[in-house]
């Protein structure tokens, strides 16, 4: 599928999100500033019409927060999210309602994201009715259409969520999102709660629907294999920042940021002949309350040098549409020029 290069649907500009923590008495007495979890720290990207942007990262990297900010479930603390050229924070009335309809989210947990007391018909009718998608008389026909679209049996409409398996519930979530004919789908860990064989069914369905309905998709996931499979472009997040963003093939074949490379090395490949005993990345994620000064990855990066501890690297051009945030601008280019990754077996 061709990606139109010029038509930006959504863009994020310096988006930051802080969640303030409750102030403790002792901190208040000392006059200490209120602590906050820095979930997003200056995120920039653009989303083109018709493309799939994969967002990967480990837990706590801010990928779900970003998804929620994009659909307007959370307001960003700083920066702005632009939808077709308008800042979503200032959308009111019909414009806001139209944005809410056109940007839809599918949630991670198919067990808690559906109201257990509503049948599938009620869930879909509510969506169709609120956004005045169809006259009342046409609603049953549209529901049958939607169920067919996500390949659920016709008799599914009058059943309750608990009567379905996890994969089927995720299909109901997709049908609900598609009921209002959105332009953009934000899928937060769409298949991570599902078994591998069922995962493949839902992934196939998403690929087909995107083709058929010309959807723009933001696919948030922690599974690199899945993101690679489904995305045109991929953004790698770490501690609330995008460290690298680029076309899927370029990013996976020549990662230009040490964290991206560590993430790729750590993901187990389906090839029993490729085994290593070296650990891809030492250490663990620092606390998002006290962010490291400089590059967020400096506490774990085997290549970190003085500059990484004082100056935060910005996303800069590495290739066509490929940008990375690293002071080592030639990282990943000439393998001989950089030292090999850490080869300690046990950290």
């Amino acid at each position: 599928m061709m990606i139109p290069m010029n038509d930006t649907v959504i863009s994020a500009e310096e988006v930051s999100k802080q969640f303030t923590l409750p102030q403790t008495m002792s901190r208040r007495l000392r006059g200490a500033p209120q602590l906050a979890v820095n979930a997003l720290n200056g995120v920039n990207f653009t989303l083109k019409r018709g493309e799939t942007l994969g967002i990967v990262g480990e837990s706590g990297c801010g990928k779900s927060t970003l998804a929620r900010v994009l659909v307007g479930l959370l307001d960003c603390t700083e920066g702005k999210v632009m939808f077709e050229g308008n800042d979503i924070a200032y959308l009111r009335g019909n414009a806001r309602r139209s944005y809410n309809r056109r940007v839809q989210m599918i949630f991670q947990d198919p067990y808690s994201s559906l109201n257990p007391r509503m049948t599938v018909r009620q869930v879909l009718t509510e969506a169709l009715h609120v956004h005045r998608m169809r006259p009342r008389a046409e609603i049953p026909g549209r529901i049958a259409e939607l169920l067919d679209l996500v390949r659920l049996p016709d008799d599914a409409a009058d059943r309750y969520p608990h009567e379905f398996s996890g994969g089927q519930r995720q299909r109901i979530g997709i049908a609900r999102a598609l009921a209002v004919e959105p332009d953009v789908l934000v899928a937060d860990e769409l298949v991570s709660a599902l078994d591998v064989s069922v995962q493949a069914q839902v992934v196939n369905l998403l690929l087909q629907l995107q083709e058929k309905l010309h959807l723009t998709v933001v696919f948030v996931a922690h599974d690199l294999r899945l993101v690679r499979h489904i995305s045109h472009r991929v953004a790698v997040m770490y501690l609330g920042s995008i460290l690298e963003i680029g076309p899927t093939e370029a990013l996976f074949s020549t990662p230009r940021q040490p964290y991206t490379r560590a993430l790729l090395d750590a993901a187990p490949e389906l090839d029993p002949t490729h085994r290593t005993t070296s650990v891809a990345a030492r250490g663990e994620l620092p606390s998002p309350i006290n962010l490291p000064v400089g590059c967020p990855f400096n506490t774990r990066c085997p290549f970190a040098f003085d500059r990484c501890f004082v100056e935060r690297p910005l996303l800069t051009e590495r290739g066509p549409m490929h940008r990375a945030a690293c002071h080592l601008t030639d990282f990943g280019l000439a393998p001989a020029a950089v030292p090999p990754m850490q080869t300690e077996a046990v950290s």
């Binding site: 078994d195 064989s197 493949a200 922690h222 499979h229 990345a281 663990e284 046990v346």
Partner: protein, 337 residues
């Protein structure tokens, strides 16, 4: 890593006809159905399957961690002795000592109100003759061994003060306290992030080499199997449907379910194409279809599959498969090769 040790002919653990049933409101269900496999010394065996396939129950049945109304039948031979019929008192000298186990969710497996150091020492107290000072010293060594930094200070920390990866390391330290000969690992990395998973997997393999243990690795992730295991056994609806060397199973699966499972995992070079998914969902244990339990989802199924349960037979050297059409499946080729 892939070659079996020379003494491979005598298995360390030999499981035969293991059957575990539970009484539920839907009647008696068979969670593990006539499962048999061997684990050789120094070998890593992967037990793969989707949720509800019986892989975790198999592991727990080996250790007799199944509570009533669950019933375990069959035999589990550990160095010539049958764990299933062994008196409880005797079993306690083996369980946690010669055979250790680590669990999926370290937060629920560790005691939240006891310091981690004490929990390691508990195992030392139960299974080694060390005195108090010796136990503390050994606990420190174990924490170092599994890569917990500042071990001395962290001995008195509680599990909630540890991160997920560190809790899993602490649990591995507890299980290693008694120098086990066999480690049963029940999805030890499923709850962890990919870089931490990588650290823990490499740690387990490293310790396996150093201590000469055998490992049974339960997982749903075929990537983990490819990266760590020597042999694998695929489970479906409580039965083993295929076993063999990992490289050979990946190269030429001989059961339609194994083939479908391999095809369901996205792989590089096939971006944005349809995955070879398996239609339908795994059956409920209360309603396993007659014949081959996989037949309603299988694209190779014929009439015989709907009536006759296929036996787990040797279909090629060192490969067992329970499929009437293993030749056709093999001819269809591997989706990952």
């Amino acid at each position: 890593m892939s070659a079996l040790p020379s003494q491979a002919l005598t298995p360390a653990l030999s499981v035969r006809d293991l059957t575990t049933t539970f009484v539920t409101s839907a009647g008696r269900v068979t969670a593990v159905d006539n499962v048999g496999f061997d684990v050789f010394p120094g070998e890593v065996l992967g037990l793969v399957g989707e949720s509800g396939s019986g892989k975790s129950v198999t592991l727990r049945s080996i250790m007799r961690l199944i509570h009533a109304p669950g019933v375990v039948g069959g035999s589990v031979l550990w160095q010539g002795r049958d764990l299933v019929t062994m008196p409880e008192r005797e079993l306690r000298r083996i369980r946690g000592a010669e055979i250790a186990m680590i669990f999926q969710e370290p937060m629920t497996a560790l005691n939240p109100v006891l310091p981690v150091g004490l929990q390691i020492e508990e195992n030392l107290k139960a299974h080694t003759p060390l005195d108090r000072a010796g136990r503390t010293k050994r606990a420190l060594e174990l924490m170092d061994l599994v890569g917990i930094p500042e071990a001395r200070r962290r001995l008195s920390d509680y599990p909630h003060q540890f991160s997920g990866g560190m809790r899993q390391r602490a649990m591995i330290a507890i299980s290693l306290a008694s120098n086990p000969k066999l480690l049963l690992a029940d999805e030890p990395t499923t709850a962890l992030d990919v870089t931490i998973q990588d650290q823990i997997l490499k740690l387990i393999l490293e310790l396996k080499r150093e201590l000469g243990m055998s490992v049974v690795f339960v997982t749903h992730d075929l990537g983990v199997v490819a990266a760590t295991c020597d042999r694998m056994a695929v489970m479906y609806a409580g039965r083993i449907v295929e076993t063999g060397e990992v490289a050979s199973v990946f190269a030429k699966p001989r059961h339609a379910y194994t083939r479908g499972l391999l095809g369901s995992v996205p792989r590089s070079g096939a971006e944005r194409t349809m995955l070879l998914s398996i239609d339908g969902t795994p059956p409920s244990l209360a309603a396993i279809p007659p014949g081959c339990p996989f037949n309603p989802r299988c694209s190779f199924a014929t009439e015989v599959c709907r009536t006759v349960v296929p036996p787990l037979d040797e279909v090629s050297p060192a490969r067992l498969a329970a499929c009437h059409h293993h030749d056709r499946v093999a001819a269809a080729g591997s989706p990952v090769a």
